[in-house]
């Protein structure tokens, strides 16, 4: 039992907690600031490293690590202690989280240097990282709730960290109201489930609830679904993250949007696939796919009409969660082959969304850091001043819109295929349209932030320092590498995770003893046979070689033209033929703000856009009402159909 890896999960959770308290102990002394920064980087790196060491046993050897706190092992097959359980799916999510936290810690080094109270920032940051890792590694429902609460508090405090800005405070308040409402629902669901099963252990719950649905457990399911939907930004519970992402420092927006949403998705998957074992239930499949599609559509249409850089990214994040949930919804299908494609697409999209959305938020942070605003109407023409950020942002844009050979393509394609094969053709169409709209909304950002006319006040803007560029570099490298070798990634990361989602019997057996699941289920629990043939991978390597050949040939050919034009621009300052053609207008009047973009579309769908913008009224009460209404609808749906 006590192998070298058995203690690694707790170390991964413990290191950032320890770091948080250490930083708190040091207090706000200016001299120790660098020490605090190094501690944050070191602890997040420690947890990342310990999770990497877990890859070999958990993912490659398909071993599930069970860890009982305080050595309180199950007494006569009844869990009495708090357990950690790490299977490939947990580890997959935890790896994404730990890597992103590490990158965010590096990014914060320079990004946050102008703020004061940085000791508090680092305490909260490490609490956030630790609780997110703990959330996905734990095998106990109530522990999940506690970790979720630590996460929520740290995130709220970080959202309103820059409390001299009105938007931070308002976003923080909305977050705490809606977030704690979601937490309350989760707690309510958990205790209702406890009242039926008298256990809090995930594995044991799964074993006891098998084929044992009662009204209480269905009510619990409704509450838990809504509660975790709040954490995973599913429409209509998507109102807080938008404000929060906009107001938080970008290093935190990255974690909130790219990573924290994944914890909600993780919990939803655990509830649906593990506790309630809804695989093969068409009504659950329909609910999740429908919910995901609504999320996708509302998120992206709101993103198109936004005027704030980070708010736009946040809404696009909401729509990406819709993709993930559609994938997981298809994963509940009766048809095993299709289900596997859906699950794999969703898992792949979790990874990809974490990378490119983090990248985009870091770019937004770079712009905010250098110019001090994220209003699309005020910015413009930064590409000459910040060439690296522009390049990274374009890579992120291409990835998120799924342009091959970047990573978004692979996962989006798997999701399209899965949803179409499962017989949800309208969903596929909406997903493809949402992809184009994503591109359109981000093109708007590219046009109005990086290209277009440079404003007078941004004349002296410089490129961001190296410490902020490194995380962006790493993330864009991941975007490209994952897109180029998707086969490798899915074989060594996605497939084991998808397998472990379906392999419930083993999950239960490892926690208790061999044969426990079979005893409780009163049937032999077979290891699910996974059929990956329908997921016929896109193999870009073959034509990527050709792509490279062409690229090299063309670039060699045209580089002469490029070179010869190089000098003229610089020395020929008087010649008016190098001026942009404006049709005689003065430059101050011809900047096309983002408001004017896509007016053709807004004219035709004006009624829809006015309605949807008006619905996001900004009043907390309305948002709470939405969440409660969602809960009511889910409850009614589940009670009528289950």
């Amino acid at each position: 039992m006590t192998s070298y890896f058995s203690n690694l999960p707790i170390i991964a959770i413990l290191a950032p907690f320890l770091g948080a308290f250490l930083v708190g102990l040091m207090g706000g002394r200016k001299k120790l600031l660098n020490v605090q920064r190094s501690i944050a980087i070191a602890t997040t790196f420690t947890s990342f490293l310990s999770l990497i060491y877990l890859i070999k046993p958990v993912i490659l050897d398909k071993y599930i690590v069970a860890y009982w706190m305080g050595n309180w092992k199950p007494e006569s097959q009844w869990a009495i202690g708090i357990g950690l359980e790490v299977d490939a799916f947990s580890l997959f999510t935890a790896l994404i989280i730990a890597a992103a936290c590490f990158l965010s810690a590096i990014y914060s080094f320079k990004y946050m240097e102008e703020d004061n109270g940085l000791d508090k920032y680092y305490v909260l940051f490490q609490l956030l990282s630790a609780s997110m890792i703990g959330f996905v590694l734990t095998g106990d429902v109530f522990n999940m709730y506690v970790m979720l609460e630590i996460m929520t508090f740290a995130a709220i405090a970080l959202t309103s960290f820059r409390n001299h800005l009105y938007k931070s405070v308002e976003a923080g308040f909305k977050y705490i109201v809606i977030g704690s409402l979601g937490s309350s629902f989760i707690l309510l669901g958990t205790i209702l489930l406890y009242s039926q099963l008298h256990t809090l252990n995930l594995a044991q719950m799964a074993a006891l609830l098998h084929g044992n649905y009662t009204p209480v457990s269905i009510l619990a399911l409704a509450f838990m679904l809504t509660g975790y939907a709040v954490k995973a930004f599913m429409v209509p519970c998507h109102t807080w993250p938008v404000d929060a992402h906009m107001a938080a420092p970008s290093s935190i927006s990255m974690l909130l949007s790219g990573i924290m949403s994944k914890t909600g998705v993780y919990a939803l998957v655990r509830i649906l696939y593990m506790i309630y074992q809804s695989t093969g239930r068409p009504e659950m499949e329909f609910l999740i796919i429908f919910w995901g599609t609504i999320t996708m559509l509302v998120g992206i249409t709101m993103a198109v009409v936004q005027t704030d850089f980070k708010r736009l990214l946040a809404f696009s994040s909401v729509s990406q969660i819709g993709y993930i949930m559609v994938g997981f919804g298809v994963g509940l299908s009766v048809n095993k082959g299709v289900a596997v494609v859906g699950t794999m697409g969703a898992l792949f999209h979790m990874l990809n969304h974490a990378t490119f959305k983090s990248l985009l938020f870091l770019c937004a942070g770079a712009v905010l850091h250098q110019t001090g605003t994220t209003d699309l109407n005020k910015l413009g023409g930064l590409s000459k001043k910040m060439p690296y950020t522009t390049a990274f942002f374009i890579i992120g844009t291409l990835s998120i819109s799924g342009i091959p050979p970047f990573n978004g393509f692979v996962s989006k394609w798997l999701i399209y295929q899965a949803s179409f094969e499962a017989g949800y053709a309208p969903v596929t169409i909406i997903a493809l349209m949402a992809s184009v709209l994503t591109l359109a909304s981000l093109i708007k950002v590219i046009q109005s932030v990086f290209f277009g006319q440079l404003k007078e006040e941004y004349k002296d803007v410089k490129e961001v320092p190296l410490f902020m560029r490194i995380p962006m570099m790493v993330l864009s490298a991941i975007c490209i590498i994952v897109g180029v070798v998707p086969n490798f990634v899915s074989k060594y990361l996605i497939e084991p995770a998808a397998f472990s989602i379906y392999n419930i019997g083993n999950y239960i057996d490892v926690m208790f003893e061999k044969g426990y699941a079979a005893k409780m289920f009163k049937e032999t629990v077979s290891i699910p046979s996974m059929d990956y043939t329908l997921a016929g991978y896109w193999n870009p390597l073959s034509w990527l070689i050709l792509f490279m050949i062409l690229l090299i040939a063309l670039i060699l050919f045209f580089s002469f033209g490029y070179k010869s034009s190089n000098n003229k621009v610089i020395d020929d300052l008087i010649n008016t033929r190098y001026e942009t053609f404006t049709g005689g207008e003065k430059e101050d009047y011809n900047h096309l703000g983002e408001n004017d973009m896509f007016w053709g579309m807004r004219q035709d769908f004006g009624r829809y856009f006015r309605f949807i913008k008006g619905a996001h009224s900004g009043v907390v009460n309305d948002y709470v009402l939405w969440v409660v209404a969602a809960c009511a609808i889910v409850t009614i749906y589940l009670f009528t159909l289950m």
Partner: protein
């Protein structure tokens, strides 16, 4: 016992009602903590058993005595802590909002919309 369950759900619904209807931010916070209290009551009621003793192994335990369920009590404690934190954090944010907006009316604190 039934009364407890009905009461707890009533309190939860009352909390939700306050959160949805009242425009005063402090009242919204009150609604949130009311909902927390309802959940706590539900938790404790779930763990309660008629005639049970405190769940501690002592030597003077009578034969045939049984415990109330200790787990919900522990959960309630955790939940209370979290509720206290929610209230404290939310109130501090309300103070900040008052400083920025000059009002604690939910209809006026809506600059982030659309």
């Amino acid at each position: 016992m039934l009364l407890n369950y009905i009461g707890s759900f009533l309190i939860i619904i009352l909390g939700l009602y306050i959160t949805i209807v009242k425009k005063n931010l402090i009242k919204i916070v009150i609604g949130m903590s009311l909902m927390d209290s309802g959940i706590n009551l539900l938790l404790i009621s779930i763990g309660f058993r008629q005639g049970g003793t405190a769940p501690i192994f002592m030597s003077d335990l009578k034969p045939g005595a049984f415990f109330v369920d200790p787990v919900p009590q522990a959960l309630t404690l955790t939940s209370i802590v979290i509720g206290a934190c929610v209230t404290a954090l939310a109130l501090s944010l309300v103070i900040k909002i008052k400083a920025h907006y000059g009002s604690i009316d939910a209809d006026k604190v809506r600059r982030l919309n659309g």
